[in-house]
């Protein structure tokens, strides 16, 4: 649920409550005022009638309300002395409305100069309470709707305006990739909270970028520093290998040591290559004819294919000419091809397909799909291949990211498909 709707939900719930209480209080205070004003009118009328009755005694004979709104009847003295003036609501038949309606009636007592006591009843028409309540509810409903609607509109406008820096930050963060962007510039804002948030996020990212850079730098430095000792050790073993010729067991031991040092060298080279790709050190680009490069490398791997009796078919459905770094294109193709050969079985097959947005290499191999989520991570080795560095597909993935392409794996029809496609 959006922030806007959250506010609106809370606002409408609390408004129902507040407006209801307000309506009740308003109703009672209004009614109080109405009674007060009617009662004042009745009092005033009483004084006028009593004054007039003193002058004109014929008034004293008006027993029924009839056309006017008062009635007088004589009562006993002791009763009159005991009684008090009373206002009350009562019902009376209204000719106009043709039904009984509430009226306000004042019952009071007075005496004339000749010591006669009378009871005086005066009525005044009242507001119709049921109509009033209905009207009030109606008005309240409209008020409620109007308040909610205006809150919605104002909120929408204000929130959109006020929260703009937030959405900008959100956008910036969504596009941010650790390792690709080396600077992060949060949007400018005058709102303190947002500025604080922006500063915090910027500081956090800065620290992370620094850690990431350090780590990258470290891997690069280590790989670089290892080159020379590796070279020295390898060459020393080669020299030793020449000297111990004839001693078969020793030769085997040395060859084995060389083999492992070479594996370490390859690992080191791959790590350096990964660092370089991530550092965008392969900046030189030109139009690369992937069809030709693929054919060339298939030929280079010819002896290996022949040795493993692997049948390779290439289907060129389109010409793939892309702006690419030549060295990376070769590494990419070599890694994928080698992958398809090394993880294949003798007498297996490989199918290469070139389309207008990429290429795909499918090969036979282990009859079960690989773990897709781990496939492109560093040092993932599905089979126990002693010679594999576990970095080949990580390198492929790094190249793909560098060129906004997608590498995908699929196991279908007994073939492992690895595809490299440009997105656009």
């Amino acid at each position: 649920m959006k922030l806007l709707n959250h506010t609106l939900l809370y606002l409408s719930a609390s408004l129902i409550f507040i407006l209801s209480i307000w309506a009740v209080v308003f109703y009672f205070s209004m009614m109080d005022e109405v009674y007060d004003s009617i009662d004042d009118g009745l009092e005033n009328y009483k004084i006028l009638i009593i004054k007039k009755a003193h002058q004109d005694t014929s008034l004293l004979n008006k027993r029924n309300f009839g056309e006017s709104n008062y009635a007088i009847r004589p009562i006993k003295r002791e009763w009159a002395l005991r009684a008090t003036e009373v206002f009350k609501d009562t019902a009376m038949y209204m000719e106009y409305e043709e039904e009984f309606e509430t009226v306000r009636m004042l019952t009071t007592y007075f005496s004339t100069r000749n010591d006669r006591y009378y009871e005086l009843k005066i009525i005044a028409s009242m507001v119709e309470e049921d109509d009033l309540v209905a009207d009030l509810l109606h008005a309240l409903l409209w008020l409620y709707l109007a308040v909610i609607a205006s809150a919605f509109i104002i909120n929408n406008w204000v929130l959109r305006k006020i929260w703009r820096p937030f959405y900008q930050l959100q956008n910036e963060l969504r596009g941010f990739k650790l390792g690709e962007d080396n600077v992060f510039s949060p949007p400018q804002t005058r709102v303190t909270e947002f500025r604080d948030m922006n500063d915090t996020v910027a500081a956090l990212l800065k620290a992370n970028i620094a850690v990431f850079q350090n780590q990258k730098q470290f891997i690069e430095n280590v790989s670089h520093e290892l080159q020379t000792p590796l070279a020295i050790a390898l060459n020393k073993l080669e020299l030793l290998l020449e000297q111990v010729q004839g001693e078969d067991a020793q030769v085997q031991l040395l060859a084995n040591a060389i083999q492992h040092l070479e594996r370490m060298t390859r690992l080191n080279k791959s790590l350096l290559l990964l660092s370089k790709i991530e550092n965008q050190q392969f900046s030189k680009e030109e139009r690369v004819d992937f069809n030709a490069r693929l054919r060339q490398q298939i030929e280079d791997f010819g002896e290996l294919l022949q040795y493993k009796r692997i049948n390779l078919e290439i289907r060129e459905e389109a010409q793939l000419n892309v702006l690419f770094n030549v060295d990376l294109a070769d590494v990419l193709i070599a890694n994928l091809l080698k992958n398809a050969i090394v993880h294949n079985h003798d007498g297996g097959s490989i199918r290469v397909r070139v389309t207008d947005n990429g290429f795909e290499i499918a090969n036979t191999g282990r009859a079960q799909p690989l773990e897709t989520d781990k496939l492109f991570t560093r040092f993932y080795r599905p089979t126990d291949h002693a010679s594999s560095t576990g970095l080949g597909l990580a390198v492929v993935n790094a190249i793909a990211q560098r060129y906004h392409a997608r590498v995908a794996y699929q196991y279908e029809g007994g073939l492992h498909h690895l595809s490299f496609r440009f997105i656009n």
Partner: protein
Amino acid sequence: MKLLIVEDEQGLRDNMMQFLCKEQYIVETASDFHSAMEKVSLYDYDCILLDVGLPDGSGLSLLEVLKSKQKRDNVIIISAKDSLDDKLEGLELGADDYLTKPFHLAELNARIKAVLRRKALGGRNVIALNNMELDFDGRVLRVDGNDIHLNRKEFDILAFFIVNKNRLIYKSALAEHVWGDHIDNADNFDFIYSQIKNLRKKLKEHGANLEIQAIYGVGYKLTV
């Protein structure tokens, strides 16, 4: 033939020296930029093995000096950096080849010989061995004067063996030389064996007088 090794790492320097002395070269060494400059200005060398990253200066500036003095020494750059820019810059400054650490000594040997062969002005780019002649320009093998067709890889294998004759060649050194870096340790290089078998057969058919010996699990050796 006189070689100069400019390398600050003693281990590497010793390895190269030990290996190259066996090839009957006169080998001198320099461990830093200044002593290298001194030697280069005093003597002429047939080939200089030049490390780019020296403690007191870049090997590339030594190249510039050579170029400005119009010295014709051959230079092979040896760098820990597998960087294309360095390579291009070095080759533009007149270096003849570029080798990345770590390398196989047999590969270094092949590179030096290739450079020296090309340098032999007016000379033909060939190696003669017994009754054979390996012609690098025409990329053809002649046995007793008859041309024998070898495919690209067979030629490269044979050439590598001949320049490193009487040495044990580790299988990955051969694989990397012929198939390039991309092949790395593909299935332990067993596939090379069948290539060598074909080559042996061809050589035998045409009566070439040499023997390629396989040392199981290690590599090969061409004995003359």
